[in-house]
Each structure stands twice: as C-alpha cells, then as structure tokens.
Symmetry: C2
Subunit: 619 residues, 2 copies
C-alpha cells in the first residue's frame, strides 16, 4: 500500500459511525425482482465502486452474495454526497429501496442480478487498508501470504463455501449418528502418553512437576472404556494430534469422526459406515451412492494395485511376472523376490524425457531405476528387451495382454519396494495422462489386513493397525507362532485412492490383550505399566466391540474438490507446524518455564523470525 | 475380591464364546406384553442372578434398562444346564421367547416389568471380576474410587443418563444454531500464548525448539478473525483450557459453546441466546421458559445481592445502611466504607453454634467476624446492640423492615469484602435453611459491567471481561480519564446463581483496540508484539460484532440436577489435575524431552504414586 492510500484511509476514519439501532433486513444474496420497491437495509463489504454517468455504483458483498447499490444525486443527494469515499473492503450499512436494474444492466448469472438498491441513507461502519491481494476466487497470491492474512483469504467465496460445506458434513454426520442411537461423548485432551503410536505432543503439568500430559492421537482407549461402561454406541467429532515430521498434506492437529459400537461384528460396523457416507453424499452433494461398497482383501489390493488404498477409478493394474522371468538371463529380474509389470495402453508415445521423470519419481520409493518396454509393430523397443528370451517375451505379453502401442513399466526387488514404486507410479501416471474420470467417487473397503508388520529399525513386529485390534477368527495362535501370517479384523474405507476411514473389531478379552502385548515384545511388567488400566477394564465385563474413525479433513477436501486439506481448515499450520497468522509457536516468558519446572536445553537461536517460519508443502 | 471368587471367574473363562453371527434384536429396555411370544435376542450385563424353585432368574442390563431372563430345566434343559455360572457383570447374549410374567411377579415400575424372556440358547461373551462397588445409582463409593474405576462408575444408570443428557443438549444447541445460519468452525488447539488471561497450558514445539504453543483459554481471537473474514455467524462447541489452581468445581479442560455474530448489538445477541436456552429447555427438559429474561445492571446486582451472579430464586436481599450508622458509637460501623445488613425472616431461632459456623464461613471472603442481631419481642438480642443509638436502631429497622423473629447479619468494611462475605453467606444460608424452591430455574441477564477492575498486585487496571470488550457508548474517553467509571458492553447470563454464559460486543476499530491496550499499561511495542495480528485485522474492514459463550459443563450439571460438573464429564480430573483412571500426567522418557530440547529443573520426587495423586474437591 502506498503512503497516499494509507493517508486516504486514515482521513476516512472520521466518517465511521456506530451501528446504532440499524438492523439488517436481508443478506446481499437474497433480493430479487419479487422484492421490487421493498425498503431494505443491507450490510457488507464494498467489492467494487465505480462512478458512471453521475451515479456511484457499489457492489456490496456478504457471505451470501453481491448486491448492486446505486447512489444517485437526483434521488437522494445526501446519500450520494460522500459516497465517493467508499473503497474496496470498506464496511457499509445502507438503507434503500429495491428497483429493477435498467435495461442492459441485468446480470443473469447472479441471484440478485435483476435488481439494484437505491441508497437513501448509509453509514460507514469501518474503513479498510488496501488488502495485500484481491478478495476473489481467482487469486494467485502465494499460500504463505494467504495464511499470514488468513482472515482476508477466508473472505473469498470459495473458502467461505468450504467452511460451510465442512459444517454441513459434520452436522449431517451428527444427525445420522444421533438417529442411530449413538451418543456423542467428549473425551480428554489432556491425557497420558502411550508408546506404540506416532510421537505425542506433550504438555508439562505445573501441579505435578516433572510429569506430562499427552495430547491424544485418537480417543481409542477412552472409547473402549465407554464400551466397557455399557454406553453401547459412541461417537465424537474430535481433534487429534500427532507430532510428526509433516509430510505433504498433513497437519499436527486434525479432526476425526470417531465411532464405536458394542455387540457387533465387522458387518454391522461397515454397513453403519456405508449408511453414513450415503447420507452425507445425499444431503451434502445431492448424489445417491450405490450400497454396499465393493470389498477387496488386502492381499488382492497389494497384488493388483501395489497399495492398500487402491484408486479404482482407472485401470493400469500391476501384474506379477516373477515366475515368468525366474530363470531369465536378465539377472535383475531373475534374482528378484518380486517382479511386476504395469501396462499403459497407448503409452508408446511417451517421450524419453517423460520416462526419465517417472524414473525420478519411483526413486522416492526406493527404486534404483525404472525398466520399460515400448511395444512397436515390429519390435520391443527397450534397453532391457535384448536380455529377454522369446519364451519370456511370450509370457510377459500374455500376462499383460500387450498390444502394439503400449508401454510396460517394470519393477523388480523386495516386494515392499516393488509395490510402493509401481503402485504410486500408477496413480501419478494416471493423473499426468488424465486417465481419471472427473466427478466420480469410487468407494472400496479393504479388509483382512495383516495383524503385524515387521519393523526393521526396532527388529520386532509392530501392530499394523494398533495393538487393540482383534486377530481374525482362528488366528490367535499365529500371534506367537507366525506373526507375519496373522490377519486382523480390520477394515479401511477407501475413496478415490484415499483412506477416508479405518477401524477394527477390538480385543475384548484381557487374556488376548496380554498375548498381544507379549507378541509386540512387551514384558508383562511393561504391559501393566503402560496399559494396566485397559487390561483391568477388559476383565470387568467388557462386551465385544468395534468401530472406526473417519478423517474429516480429508473427506471434506474430497467433497469440496479442494487440492489440499489446508483449504478446508480455517486456520491450518505450515509444514513446519507454524501458524503464519498468530505466529505460533513462540518463545514464552522465563517465569512460565520456571513454573513448569523446565529449562531449555539451549537458547533458541532464532528471534522474531516466526513470520518467515516454515514454508508450505506443495501437495 | 477373595482368592476364591477370582478362581471361579478364571474357571468360567472356558465358557466364553465369540459373538459369531448372533444379532441383537432388542435392547433390555424395550420388550412389553405387546411382544408376547416374540423370539428375541438380547445382549447385556447380568445385574443379579437368583435361583428359585428350580429356575434360574437373571436380570439382564444394558443402557436402556433391565429385562428378566428365566432359565427353565423343563423348557430348555440345555440352556438351564450351565446358567448357574452367571455372576453379576458377566456379559451375556441370550436367545429366547417373550412371555408374560407369572401372576405376582409383575413389576409395574419397569417398562419391561410385565414380561420375561425364557432362554432357549445363550452365550457367555465375557466374565467379570467382582466390581469394587455395586453397579447401582445408590452407590456410596468414595469419588476417588469411582474415578479410578470410571468405566464401572459410568455403568450406573444415573451416569449413563447424564452422558445422554449432555449429548442431547449439545445436539439441540447445534440444531438451533444451524437453523439460525450459524456455521460451526473448528479453531486451533495448538495456538499462541497470550497475556491478559489465566495461566496457559504450554506445548513445546519439537520442530521449533525453544518455542511453545499454548492451549486456548477460548477461541476468542479466532472467532473475531472469522467475523473479519465475513463468516457472519459462527459457533463452536469447543474444548478450552486453563492452568489454574483448581478451586472447588473447576476442571483444567472444559467445554464452551462459543458464539459470534456480525452486524449486531447487545439485543440481537441476547435474544439469540434466550431463544437457544428456551429451545434446550423445551426439547431436553420439556419446559417452557418465559422470554425475555429479566435484566439487572451490574451496580444493582452488587447492591442487592453482593455478587454479580445473583440467585433470584429467594429473597434475603442485602441493604446498605452505611449512611444510617455513619456517626455511630460503634466504631466498626462508623468508620467503614460500606455497611450492609441481611435479614433472615424467622431466623431468630438460629443457634449460637449455627451462627458460629456462618462466622467461619464469611472468613473465607476476608471478613473478620459476623455481627448479628436477633429481633425478640422485647429486645434486640445481640453482642452489638448496645452500641447502637435509638435512632440508628430505628433506621436499621426501617431499612430492613425488621419484624419480631428475624435475625440480621451485618458486614462492614471495604466494599469488595462486604459484598463478597454477605453475598456468599446469603446463598449458603438459603441452602442450609432450605429456602430455595426445588425444580425452579431463574434466569437473569446481568449487564453494564465495569470495563476494568483494579489489580492490587499488578498495580494497574485489568480488563474485567477481556481486553477485546467494547466500552459503552460514550465511555471511550473514560478509558484513560477515569477507568474505574468506564462501563463495558458486556452481559452475563445467570441461572440460579451460576454464570452459565457471558459475552460482549467487541471492539472492531484498530484505534480503539490500541487505546484499550494503552489503558491496560501496554506500550505500543508490547501491544504490537502480542496482539499485532488482531489490530492489523481490525484495520482490514472488521465489521461490528459481538457474541457470547456458554459453559456447557455447568449448564448440563444444572439441567441434570447433579452436584458437581464431574458428574457430567465422562473422564474428569481431580483437584490436582490428575486422571485416576489412566494415571495422567506421568513421567515421560528422557528421549522425548531431549527431542523437545527440554530439561527438567529437578528430578520429580514422586515415583509411581500417581494412583493416590490428588484428592477430589468437595463441591
């Protein structure tokens, strides 16, 4: 803002008046020809002012829309007199009369486009400095600027719609669950740090020096306690916290729709969840979902898609060719534990440069490179084709149903890497090649997850879902005898390749819970110290129970068609977990730390650089 | 629990079965004679088992009620065979047939009292150790025991009802506000520490070493930002945090119904709030409230009741007799800045012991003692009567409208002490003497609060409400010239002597906000450093706005007729801010502190004594 405009805004302060007893009669998105000659009072923000033919026109904006206000020296000279001071984003209250717009000025794209309000009287309620970016949906301001001035960013109609959509989704969920006999119960935010999850945020206790609360990663144990208490059907839309290094589109605090039910099996939980989703789609999006959702075992998802949350809106499935190339002269294939191929129909036209970019992409997932073959009419064009025997070629061609014009990408090595590299490349490619149909919502349940996964770092098995998940029927012995084979009564709801919800049937026996902790490498004493109250509760008449949780941020993002969860969170944090608006976190007074019995390990190097702190992930 | 009962429960484990494909057909509170001969499947907890005349009877309990199940060797011998193992709190699934109870066994006090279910088949879903207290409303277990075994405490019907009532209140509030165009927006829990409030809970930031988030005491600034963003009508049912030394009935985390509106004055906010309360009372309590609520200026409340949240369900008003005793021979009265009397009609029969107890009571509020006079037919019986002249007696008798049989209590000294001592004695006395009508709900608005109060410790004025509260019309100059006289556009909603809600019209001008910080003793630099983003936002087209917040815990407590907010919170904390169930807070691993760049000032003295930690306030 220039000095001059600042001076003008300062000068205009003297025009500011109190609201007094003025009362708004309509919003700026309501008036139509049906209101012709009505006397109205509108309040809002000046979107534009333009002076034309001796008249002054102002588009007045509130969250509902825009209404054209006209100040006329003939009709109301006093109202016209000072209207020239009005600037964009000034706050205005105006009383006037509705009339049809003159011919040629009708705007049929707006609800209020056929009328205007002739101002008889107005009050300037506030001025505004010139905003650092225009208040419009088509705003190319960088995200850091938008976050630092979030209250202006949120003035944009698109962001207002996102907040209202989020509200509507939450209300619809609450209504559905309330009707189903679910009781919303608030669980503590100041709770106990437990291992076996992500890193906790800690809160030092002043009244208990040296001790800490943890912010909950989920209310898992509390909702299980509520089932032991006989509450039967619980839900909560609840804030959860994870102190992770923030990858891509994550937030340190996020919102879950947390649900738990007693005396149920998987089928009951899943059909309740499907009904919830159908209700949300119907009420919020006006769309009918077809129920039940398709289901896929985890094994099959990994086999066909390489990931446990397949996007089924498009093909490009992976094919296992390990056996076909088992004795190949191409050592990389012959010696690999897993070799998979993914065919891109018509992908023969991909350029070397594009293929190089895909090669870089798969390196994120630990791949060394990316083998490929283009199927030409007369040859297989490829750096690796020459290593493959005729029989191997035949086998690959059959397995992948190759046609002239296709390209195949290959990955060979450890199964985790092969699946991750090709599975993620699949989604990446589909986006780049525009293979994903717009405006389609593909739901899928993924079931029969492994109970454990091996943690290479800790050299032990850890729970795949969480350590309260029940093993599959008959898999109790596998927990100790062959953990890798044990399956869990867990299920994830996947929408367009995003995990939007997940849950399980829980362990409700104290004995089984003890065996679970044992399988995870806990001594009985460690289990008792960390989870004693849970085991104790399970021995006091715990009913069979299970549930699931939805990630509200991601769900709303998908419904809003937004590209980041930050666009559906009012005040999100950056990738460095800072708030560019309030400059949190911040240093605190020495007295505050003293009261908490804490000392900093080293003085913070930085001072007052919070405003720059932390860029935003590109996701 | 004896060794023997533990052995039995252990022995019974072998009877436990999986739920399998059994599906509950009804709850335990549904079946009536209309269901005669229906085949049903119930699941729940064994309340009692009794064996009678060769039959085994079980009262099966779930959150909806109790149903009598009978195991008969004649009708279903297999079902009867092992039913003797059933113990209280075992979890049972039973299939059977509904039939009328035999004559003489009908229990008309229960919904299901006319029927019983004859068991054909059953499954033991879980055993239970003997609970440390019986699962009944009439439970005399100490509160610490109840909190340590909270999941059992919550099994009691009364506690289940409290949780469901709370849910219903919250749902009703959300529906009302949604219908009124309010949008629920979630604001951050990890935010910035600000001065001018209670003590913040802090959360160390790992990604920004040496810096801290604070947990919000309320979302005040965020909701104001949302008004600047044009959201117009905001609400949130939201957790808030205060690290206070917990007096009586307070919790470190509590829930607010937080509301804000743009383009409104006090009237709009208050009538919205009255409508909300009327809706809650109608839908939850089935009671019609009479609107609008009465209003009282703060001055009058202090004058007549000594407190700013008068309980108007009973009389016992205070009378100022300062002028009457100005020249009294009783120096204590003559020299006091304020002398007030409170008459208790018919209180002449209070014993010396009772009066002594009241004297102890007022000492909490800084009183040195408690003067009193009993009005006998022939004399004023009192230790102080002899110091009072006839004229003074006459003045007092007139001011307080004294009758034979009354007692009057007096307090003299600094106004704050006099009002606090007599005002609180008034409520205490009314409770003791059972002067408070049961089942009555008296609402009252208290308005025109002072803008500031003088903080003796800090030797400066601090905001009475908070520093974002607008001064009354025309009181802008008083903010600097005579702060003690400045009044605020603030209002509290009082219910039966409890502040259930409070709010204000906010400052929406950057200039006024700067003057407010100046009046509070901030330098411009301090104001900028702490609240720069607020002032900046107010200069970007902030609309006039205001709102209020309700304390949900206290409101639900009053609706439930509970005596403590802990009875309407699922997992409350003790007065030492500990959770006796999970044993939070707790020491954390050295690695966790290292990651946060923190050191403890001293090793905590206590070790593993959390279970005893912190008694519960008697409130």
């Amino acid at each position: 803002m220039t000095e001059q405009t600042q001076d003008i805004q300062q000068e205009h302060q003297k025009f500011i008046e109190d609201l007094g007893d003025w009362q708004r009669s309509h919003t700026c998105g309501q008036l139509t020809l049906a209101d012709d000659t009505a006397e109205v009072c509108l309040m809002g923000w000046v979107q534009y002012r333009r002076d034309h033919g001796g008249l002054i026109f102002v588009d007045l904006r509130d969250r509902d829309g825009l209404t054209q206000v006209v100040f006329s020296p003939d009709i109301a000279p006093a109202a016209h007199e000072n209207a020239h001071i009005l600037r964009s984003e000034y706050v205005l209250a105006v009383k006037g009369k509705v009339r049809p717009r003159p011919e040629g000025m009708v705007n049929s794209t707006m609800v209020t486009g056929e009328i205007e309000v002739v101002a008889y009287e107005w009050k300037l309620l506030n001025t505004s400095k010139t905003p650092p970016f225009p208040i419009e949906d088509r705003c190319d301001a960088g995200e850091n600027l938008r976050l630092a001035w979030r209250y202006l960013d949120l003035r944009r109609p698109r962001m207002q719609e996102n907040l209202r959509l989020r509200h509507k989704v939450a209300q619809t969920i609450r209504r559905y669950l309330d009707e189903g006999g679910f009781v919303e119960v608030e669980t503590p935010v100041l709770t106990k740090s437990t291992p076996e999850g992500a890193r906790d945020f800690l809160v030092p206790s002043r009244l208990n020096p040296g001790e800490f609360y943890a912010l909950p990663q989920s209310p898992q144990l509390f909702k299980q306690m509520l089932m032991v208490s006989g509450l039967d059907r619980y839900f909560q839309i609840v804030r959860c916290f994870r102190d992770e290094d923030l990858r891509a589109d994550r937030q340190p605090e996020f919102t879950q729709v947390d649900i738990e039910m007693s005396f149920v099996d998987e089928e009951k939980v899943m059909s309740m969840a499907e009904g919830l989703m159908a209700r949300v789609f119907k009420e919020v999006m006006g769309r009918e979902l077809s129920l039940p959702f398709p289901r896929m075992r985890w094994d099959e998802a990994m086999e066909r898609y390489g990931v446990d949350k397949p996007d089924t809106r498009f093909g490009l499935e992976l094919k296992d060719i390990t056996e076909i190339v088992r004795g190949s002269g191409f050592k990389l294939f012959a010696q690999a534990r897993l070799v998979k191929g993914m065919k891109v129909p018509g992908g023969e036209s991909l350029t070397r440069k594009e293929i190089d970019a895909f090669t870089e992409f798969v390196k994120i997932y630990g791949a060394q490179g990316l083998a490929w073959i283009k199927i030409k009419a007369d040859e297989w064009q490829s750096p690796i084709a020459k290593f493959l025997s005729d029989e191997e070629r035949k086998g690959i061609a059959e397995a992948l149903d190759l046609q002239v014009g296709d390209i195949v990408f290959f990955q060979a090595g450890e199964p985790d890497m092969v699946n991750a590299a090709l599975g993620n490349l699949r989604v990446h490619l589909a986006g780049q090649l525009k293979l994903i149909p717009e405006n389609s919502f593909n739901f899928l349940w993924v079931t029969d997850f492994p109970l454990y996964e091996y943690d290479q770092e800790e050299k032990r098995f850890v729970a795949c879902h969480h350590p309260f998940t029940s093993p599959a029927s008959g898999h109790l012995e596998l927990m100790s005898s062959d953990p890798a084979k044990a399956r869990a009564r867990a299920y994830d709801m996947v929408l367009n390749g995003n995990e939007v919800g997940g849950g399980s049937i829980r362990i409700h026996s104290g004995d089984v819970q003890r065996r679970m902790f044992e399988a995870l490498g806990f001594t009985p004493e460690q289990a008792e110290a960390q989870f004693g109250f849970l085991i104790q509760a399970l021995e006091q008449g715990a009913p069979p129970h299970g549930g699931l949780a939805f990630g509200l941020d991601r769900l709303v993002m998908l419904l809003a068609g937004a590209s980041s969860i930050r666009d559906v969170i009012a005040f999100p944090k950056t990738q460095k977990a800072t708030c560019l608006l309030t400059e949190a976190p911040a240093p605190v007074a020495a007295k505050q730390l003293r009261e908490l019995g804490l000392r900093l390990r080293e003085q913070p190097a930085k001072e007052g650089e919070a405003k720059q702190g932390g860029g935003v992930a590109q996701a």
